[in-house]
């Protein structure tokens, strides 16, 4: 009897607030529109875009992607730890997430600075307009992500709070920052 109800209970739960999922899906559509414009104009003038893309360092892009994927891993672990009541482990995981995010931030700014120093600014070519625009708006989402991680820390630190729903909601936002980067990285750095 308990097995059956257990299976049914485990079968379905919405991770975090459904409201956050609505935001995630909507924001993904908006980003898809940005990507659509990028791909359209890229396909129309490939040489210009290829020339710009050649100035990028793929290795930094790969490294940043791995780091951000790691941050998703740690925040997912945080959710699971919190769910079983291992709050100290969950806190540690959220700090790892923030550390990964900081590393990403650092390398992104470093990359931008290097590009600008070499004369590739946001208005130097259409490719770089899209590059700085997409990575820039993603960066803004990342900064908001720090606030969101702050909410998780705030929730986990005191026994009076610790809303699992809120932790899951924040994690959902964080994963969005991650998968948007996955798409941005593929489109800016790797696509030919």
């Amino acid at each position: 009897m308990t097995d059956l109800t257990d299976k049914n209970k485990r079968a379905t739960f919405v991770p975090g607030q459904p409201d956050m999922w609505a935001f995630v899906l909507f924001e993904t559509l908006v980003f898809t529109a940005y990507f659509g414009f990028y791909l359209f104009y890229r396909a129309k003038s490939p040489e210009l875009f290829l020339h710009g893309q050649a100035q990028l360092d793929l290795r930094i892009g790969v490294f940043n992607t791995l780091v951000l994927l790691l941050s998703s891993w740690s925040v997912a672990r945080c959710v699971q730890s919190a769910r079983v009541g291992a709050f100290r482990a969950a806190l540690r995981d959220v700090y790892i997430t923030a550390a990964c995010a900081a590393i990403f931030l650092f390398f992104k700014v470093f990359e931008w600075a290097r590009l600008v120093r070499n004369g590739n600014g946001i208005d130097s070519s259409d490719f770089f307009t899209y590059y700085f625009f997409l990575t820039g708006i993603h960066f803004v989402h990342l900064l908001i992500g720090f606030v969101v991680l702050g909410v998780v820390v705030y929730q986990l630190r005191s026994a009076a709070r610790r809303s699992q729903e809120l932790v899951e909601t924040c994690a959902t936002y964080w994963h969005t920052v991650d998968f948007l980067w996955v798409l941005i990285f593929a489109l800016l750095y790797v696509v030919r």
Binding site: T12, P15, L25, P46, V62, L66, Q80, Y189, V190
Partner: protein, 95 residues
């Protein structure tokens, strides 16, 4: 219990990381030529969409979500794919 889940999450990360590293290999195989390549572009986009779906299902726990959310996120992956490919193809035709 947490250990079992953590192993799964780690495996997921390794899979995603491998896909990411595969990009390095793809890039290496077309290295040097500054020419547009629709095959590379298409496969890169498809791999990215696979990664996004894995993130949805494993990291964002959609696997254990109600059917509606599963279907919505899958539909979204398809939607992103359709959006990207149609813009790319229209751009290619008009270019």
């Amino acid at each position: 219990m947490p250990l079992k889940f953590n192993k799964r999450l780690l495996v997921v990360w390794v899979v995603l990381a491998s896909f990411t590293l595969a990009y390095l290999w793809i890039d290496h195989s077309v290295d040097g030529s500054l020419r547009p390549n629709a095959v590379v572009t298409s496969s890169v986009i498809v791999i990215a969409l696979i990664k996004v779906r894995i993130i949805f299902r494993e990291f964002m726990e959609v696997r254990q979500a109600p059917a509606l959310l599963c279907r919505l996120t899958d539909a979204w992956v398809v939607l992103i794919g359709v959006g990207l490919f149609s813009c790319y193809i229209v751009g290619l035709t008009l270019g």
